[in-house]
Amino acid sequence: MTALAALIRRDIRIALRVGGGALIGVLFFLTVVVLMPFALGPDLPLLTRLGPAILWLGALLASLLTLDRLFTADHEDGSLDLIVMGRTPLELACAAKALAHWLAAGLPLIVATPVLGLLLNLDMVATSAVALTLLAGTPALTFTGMIGAALAVTLHRGGLLLAVLVLPLSIPVLIFGVAASEAAITGPVSFGAPFSILCALSLVSFVVGPFAAAASLRHGLD
């Protein structure tokens, strides 16, 4: 257990440093959300209507951007080989890395959501709904994205391929995340159903993600 805690602490510390990538995700999130009103025009009711979708899309793209650095930095300096060859089960090590990545890159997105909700003319209920669904859904994005990151770690120009691989698996999370947010804002459809499925997607990804990523790392590195 100490080995995993050390791994998590190390990853968070590296990510929070200047070149670490935690802040880049938030900056990208901010960029996407700020550009939307420029593209859509200053129509406030329209922005309110599209707000949850824009926030979710920005969070998805921001997490896609930061996924690249989940394994590549360790691969380049050789620590990934040490982790693979170590005594800690590789599945748990992958899960620990994904958890650290979510804490460093996913949580800041959720913290930034209320501020960005103001830009999109969302009220308290809407913003908290979106933040809650992001809290439930971004772990799924990180853990399924880890599969793509593990597959693409040994490629030089792996970044774009990673996005292509991860995108089909992230679409259900996006669909249910926005559905849950919309349900919380506009009444009659129940919030519980899509939110439960969103939580289920995250829970399934906690299991499938580490196993698939560990298998990819074991077979892919030589």
């Binding site: 597959l151 089909p168 669909i175 499938v208 990819s216 077979h219 892919g220």
Partner: protein, 255 residues
């Protein structure tokens, strides 16, 4: 003859060389019968002659999922049993499956325009099949991204197995959600609800398309084996050439 007997590539090549003409002939015959039956099938009372798109759309849709299932079995063969030709089977099947998915989407879209009034609708069945198509493309990209075929095989095998979760979602999407796409009419509890006049041509066409997949798959596997042999020969040639050059250089001559 078990699968392991086919593990020797040369044996596989010689066996399939003899088998391929029969597969082609069988495919042509089945398509002839199927197309004749489709042409002579009656018009639907509501859809008219447009219903005959079903005889192409449905087999393509079935095969798009069947091919991913075949690739998943090959992926298991690569990762679990280390069957030598499992990865060849998986790599050869991906473009064929992608084509079937693409044709299913196109024919469905053309059918939807007169029937539903729209070329496309973001309902559960269409969205999940589109996701399947994107996963096929991602898989094909992954195969070509890694230089060494053996390593690419293992990475692609993992991705194939992860993507297999989409198959039950596609199958049951019309039951779980309120979709525009019609519910299951053939593979359902309580038997098919399709009338015999349409069911027979549909099953014959499905058989014809399946045989087409097997023929194309076998031919593509043969090509892939030959392609890998060419690659090995080129590497051997390059190594021999560099050995000659280093042997001929002054530094390696005895002083």
């Amino acid at each position: 003859m078990t699968l392991i007997d086919l593990a020797n590539p040369s044996r596989f090549l010689s066996l399939t060389a003899r088998l391929l003409p029969y597969l082609v002939a069988g495919t042509v015959v089945l398509f002839a019968i199927g197309l004749y039956l489709s042409a002579t099938a009656p018009d639907d009372y509501q859809q008219g002659a447009t219903v005959k798109i079903m005889f192409i759309h449905v087999p393509n849709a079935w095969l798009s999922m069947f091919v991913w299932a075949v690739m998943s079995a090959s992926a298991l063969g690569t990762l679990v049993w280390r069957h030598p030709l499992a990865d060849v089977a998986a790599k050869a099947a991906a473009p064929i499956g992608a084509s079937f998915t693409f044709l299913a989407l196109i024919t469905g879209s053309l059918w939807g325009r007169p029937m539903w009034g729209t070329y496309w609708e973001w309902d559960a069945r269409l969205t999940s099949v589109l996701i399947l198509f994107l996963m096929y493309l991602g898989l094909m990209a992954l195969w070509r991204a890694v230089e060494d075929p053996a390593r690419a095989a293992r990475a692609a095998a993992v991705l194939t197995l992860v993507g297999a979760i989409n198959l039950p979602i596609i199958k049951f999407s019309v039951d779980w959600w309120n979709t525009l796409h019609q519910p299951a009419s053939v593979f359902r509890m309580g038997g098919p609800t399709l009338d015999r006049a349409f069911l027979i041509p549909l099953l014959v066409m499905a058989l014809a398309f399946t045989l087409l997949f097997i023929t194309l798959h076998v031919a593509a596997m043969r090509n892939e084996i030959l392609r890998r042999r060419v690659r090995s020969l080129q590497m051997m040639q390059a190594r021999a050439a560099s050995n000659d050059m280093s042997a001929a250089s002054p530094a390696s001559q005895p002083a």
